[in-house]
């Protein structure tokens, strides 16, 4: 009984949160609702006995949405409402309804066709982490490694893009050196 109550409660909360995230024109509301929705989704993992995935959902998405906040901070005055440029409303509503419908069909079709079954059914809920590890490093080793390589590429690209003065450390310099560096920068700007 508790499971059913929890499921409907969190289903309602999640849908409400994502609805707010889509419809509001206030950046802070949207971001907070998104974060809340992501965290509420973890409840479904907990209900299903996938504790590890539930906790990972919280850890990953709380950090990821935190980064979105940082972008919000940089690009908007988050205390003001964003004036959205709204084009043809009929097209927007039509396309989003179509997309949502397609997702439902894609997910629901195998369930209706009745040929969906767990490839690696969880036997013992207390060995959650071990089982995830087993599957990751046997069956899904290649996708796992490819994802790792992609993340590495992204990280190096980020370092290259951001690290123009990586060889300098303001922490290790004394005041005079910092002032000299600033002077040089000024001179460069004046010349160019």
């Amino acid at each position: 009984m508790f499971e059913a109550i929890a499921f409907y409660l969190f289903a309602f909360l999640t849908i409400t949160m994502f609805y707010i995230a889509v419809t509001t024109s206030q950046a802070l509301y949207a971001l907070s609702a998104l974060a809340a929705g992501m965290i509420f989704i973890s409840a479904f993992f907990f209900i299903l006995g996938a504790d590890f995935l539930g906790a990972v959902q919280i850890v990953v998405y709380s950090g990821a949405v935190m980064a979105l906040y940082a972008f919000g901070m940089m690009f908007f005055d988050t205390t003001r409402e964003v004036k959205e440029k709204q084009g043809n409303k009929a097209i927007i509503i039509g396309l989003s309804t179509l997309a949502a419908l397609m997702v439902v069909v894609i997910v629901a079709a195998p369930i209706v066709g009745n040929n969906i079954e767990a490839l690696y059914p969880s036997v013992d809920a207390t060995k959650n982490v071990q089982e995830v590890g087993m599957v990751l490093f046997t069956k899904y080793l290649v996708p796992f490694e490819v994802a790792a390589v992609m993340l590495l590429v992204a990280m190096i690209a980020g370092i290259v893009l951001a690290g123009k003065k990586m060889d300098l450390s303001v922490t290790l310099m004394n005041e005079a050196e910092i002032m000299m560096m600033k002077e040089e920068d000024k001179n460069k700007k004046a010349h160019s």
Partner: protein, 328 residues
């Protein structure tokens, strides 16, 4: 059976909430007294014996002060931010075993709300979510200094989350479980079996990161003192500000519990002495938070980032690699 379990859980939750809300208040008293002692002052002395009732006086003040909501803030987010800090701090406590299980009136009580088998991950994740409080509070306040403090808070959080996770990975590899009770069981053989002896580096790293996670001096960047104002809390008054405070102090207590259980043997074999030992360790770590605040200045944000990414993170990774080689 299910109803009994339900009632037991509710009672546990209420007890933990009450005890740690009260402890947060008493924690401020201890902080003032300890800081005063170390800085050769008196601290609170006027209200009650030894100034003990200062806590009650503060409480009355916080509860009765007008709850000001400035006109240009984002109302709902501004109101909900302190609740997030306090609520997540207590949610994290759900997976912490506070004492060994004991029998009362013939009924065995496990002083842990939910013994989920990924306890540590859950606690760290929820504590991470706790930083949404200062972040949202700062961003919704329509105040430049609050916004700056929120930005610093997000930077510190995202960086030090890495250290916490990496440093704790080595002990997890040794124990082979994410449940705090399993950690305790692993070390139940007395002082020599404590993980701190085999993982001293991870212990120090986790301890350092704990200061960043709870936002305490020397990593107290979310409310920078040299700006004279209170960072993200500038626009808050009354009990909303008090909730931030309760969240911070509850977090300090909970992280002290986590450090003691993971690295220092927790409650040991589960005897009465072991339980007292756990409380003693927690008291020491809490005291250490205050001690550091009295002894050290805040570090600059760039020094903090330098320390995190160029010193602590490589050490943590090397520690994991060495642990892995030794275990193989």
């Amino acid at each position: 059976m299910e109803i009994a379990y339900f009632i037991e859980t509710i009672i546990k939750i209420v007890v933990i909430l009450l005890i740690f809300s009260a402890l947060a208040g008493i924690g401020t008293y201890f902080e003032r007294k300890v800081l005063a002692f170390m800085q050769r002052r008196l601290g609170p002395v006027n209200v009650g014996p030894f100034g003990l009732l200062q806590v009650a006086a503060d409480g009355i003040k916080l509860f009765t002060k007008e709850d000001i909501i400035p006109t240009s803030v984002v109302g709902r987010i501004f109101k909900i931010a302190p609740v997030i800090t306090a609520a997540t701090a207590f949610m994290a406590a759900a997976a912490i075993p506070f004492l060994p299980s004991f029998t009362i009136f013939g009924y065995e009580v496990h002083p842990i709300v939910a013994d989920i088998n990924i306890g540590i991950l859950y606690i760290l994740g929820i504590m991470g979510v706790g930083l949404y409080g200062p972040l949202l509070g700062g961003m919704a306040s329509a105040n430049k200094f609050s916004l700056l403090s929120a930005a610093r808070g997000a930077a510190v959080f995202i960086s030090y989350e890495v250290i916490t996770g990496l440093s704790i990975l080595a002990p997890i590899m040794m124990v082979g479980s994410l449940s705090l009770i399993d950690f305790n069981q692993y070390q139940s053989g007395g002082i020599t079996s404590w993980i701190v002896w085999s993982q001293p580096v991870a212990f120090i790293l986790f301890w350092i990161a704990a200061f960043a996670e709870t936002g305490r001096t020397p990593f107290h960047l979310i409310a920078n003192d040299h700006e004279i104002i209170d960072g993200f809390g500038t626009e808050y008054s009354g009990m909303r500000w008090g909730l931030f405070f309760i969240g911070e102090y509850a977090n300090m207590f909970f992280i002290s519990f986590v450090i003691s259980i993971i690295f220092l043997g927790g409650y040991g074999d589960g005897s009465f002495l072991g339980a007292l030992g756990l409380l003693g360790k927690v008291a020491f770590f809490f005291f250490f938070f205050l001690w550091t605040r009295a002894a050290w200045p805040d570090v600059r944000p760039d020094q903090l980032m330098w320390l995190c990414w160029k010193v602590l993170m490589p050490i943590a990774v090397i520690n994991i690699v060495i642990t892995g080689i030794v275990m193989m």
